[in-house]
Amino acid sequence: MRDYLIIIKDTILDSYSPAEMQESLHAYKNWAGGLADQYLDGQRLDDESARLPRTGSISTDGPFLESKEIISGYVMIKAHNLEEATEIARRSPLLAHSHLEIRPIKIMSQ
């Protein structure tokens, strides 16, 4: 197995109700708990943000990401391949509120 990063992207800054938050928490814990050892880490990113343009780029290069999309967190999991990792992500409750991008963490040759 190798490590995969599930990048969580929000397009709408939803305001959740207390009931929705509790439901969301349960769903997440059920999903993560079900993954057992395949779940490595998961974090939310805080709102403060700083962006640096690449050295030498000019201001009309535009935003680096679609300005509407905000990366709000990530989950790191172990899986046998991208298909399995994607399947795991598909079953997650994160999809209710976010877009997900699944990327393998590059394996460096020894």
């Binding site: 109700s17 207390p18 009931a19 938050m21 509790q22 928490l25 814990k29 880490d41 998961g42 939310r44």
Partner: protein, 423 residues
């Protein structure tokens, strides 16, 4: 997050976030004043988000409510510091009398119920339009979002936002704030709260299985708040009577509808599906209400509900007792709806012919002109007397007067029964 496979996934108590949200909004509003209700709600929202993020990746604490309180308190203290810093640069503005000590005190376990009570009295203030009272109660005391309130009350978020906005404007204009009414004003203020909670309960009671679950929660919230009030003022027997009423009605909720959400009328209900524990609780409150000198409409409505709940069948129901209570109700409040209910009972005490006569008399009442149940009642009596074509016509008219799908569905069944009987 530890990787132990056998670890049971931790659960939170049902509605914990919602109920704690209500509590926390009450406490923080007590500290900053009702004019800063939005601020209180923001701080609570931040607290819950923090819990959501932290408890997703770490273990849920043993005492989640206490954790939420601590974090909310910290955020409140930070907000106070922020304001004091801001005000330092504007010495001509009088500092609000909030201290760290007052924050410590407001967050004490023993003071939390007091804050919630104040919130109940403010949300159900008689100077607010009833619609605003209910919207405000659901939003600020019960932890519903605007969208959830709109969904629960079968209206739009725009409508709810308007009601909330108007309520907050009233607070400012009338200088209403969070306080327990003085003893001499308590009875009318308690009355106002009872009315508000009664209406809230009624909204939930009208809901059907096919609707959002959130509607069913309304009844539970009304009971929860009435219980809070009753515990604080055990001598206010009206509240106990209201609680009795709410428990007795809730006891029959599941039997009132079949699996598809179609209405099952009282005489067809499977009484074994009535919740006996809820009936017992209702009777307990009715007993408590039956002390003192006050006899209110809630007492009578609860008494009637009790007579139904304790009866093994329609035929074995104590109609005499029910009839007497309706008589008293009618004397308290000449409502054509009460007269209508009395007429319906005649079917069981005397017979369909007498009931029909009474019901037809009521058609003259202006208030009942568009009351679909009156026409349905007349149709029902005509059906029992074999007047199938007349009955069918009445049921059709009744159908045109109601928007409720379950009600229309019930009337369709009645119309079909008329058509089959006629052949």
């Amino acid at each position: 997050m530890s990787g132990s496979e056998d670890k049971q996934v931790q659960q939170l108590v049902d509605h914990l976030f919602r109920h704690e949200a209500g509590k926390l909004v009450s406490v923080i509003s007590r500290i900053f004043g009702i004019a800063h209700l939005d601020l209180a709600e923001d701080l609570v929202q931040d607290t819950l988000m923090e819990a959501l993020h932290r408890w997703s990746v770490h273990d849920i604490p043993d005492n989640p409510a206490a954790w939420l309180m601590q974090v909310a308190k910290r955020k409140t203290l930070n907000e106070l510091k922020r304001r004091q810093t801001a005000l330092k640069n504007q010495p001509h503005i009088v500092h609000q009398q909030i201290s760290v000590e007052s924050i410590d005190e407001a967050f004490l376990e023993s003071k939390i119920e007091d804050s919630q009570l104040r919130m109940v009295f403010v949300c159900c203030h008689p100077k607010l339009p009833l619609e605003s009272q209910i919207a405000l109660t659901l939003k600020s005391l019960c932890g519903f979002s605007v969208k959830e309130v709109a969904s629960a009350l079968l209206t739009t978020t725009s409508n709810i936002n308007k009601r909330l906005y108007r309520a907050k404007a009233r607070f400012r204009d009338l200088k209403i704030d969070l306080e327990i009414p003085p003893v001499h004003l308590l009875p009318p203020r308690v009355d106002a709260v009872c009315l508000s909670l009664y209406l809230l309960f009624n909204e939930g009671y009208q809901s059907s299985h096919s609707q959002d679950l959130i509607r069913k929660d309304l009844g539970m919230e009304a009971i929860r708040l009435a219980t809070l009030l009753s515990n604080a003022f055990p001598d206010q027997t009206k509240v106990a009577a209201l609680l009795a009423l709410m428990f007795l009605h809730t006891a029959r909720f599941d039997a009132r509808q079949d699996v598809e959400g179609a209405i099952v009328i009282l005489e067809d209900q499977d009484r074994s599906r009535w919740d006996q524990r809820l009936i017992a609780t209702g009777m307990h409150y009715l007993k408590r209400a039956s002390t003192g000198k006050v006899l209110s409409e809630y007492h009578l409505e609860a008494g009637i509900a009790a007579d139904h709940c304790l009866a093994p069948s329609m035929e074995a129901t104590d109609w005499k007792s029910i009839s007497a209570q309706y008589d008293l109700l009618n004397r308290m409040n000449h409502s054509p709806i009460i007269a209508f209910n009395q007429a319906i009972i005649l079917r069981w005490t005397e017979g369909p012919k007498q009931a029909l006569a009474k019901l037809e008399e009521l058609q003259a009442s202006a208030k009942l002109k568009n009351y679909h149940l009156l026409l349905a009642g007349i149709g029902e009596m005509q059906f029992l007397l074999g007047q199938y074509q007349k009955a069918r016509a009445c049921f059709l008219k009744a159908k045109a007067l109601t928007n409720s799908n379950p009600q229309q569905e019930l009337l369709n069944r009645k119309i079909l029964a008329c058509e089959m009987a006629n052949n």
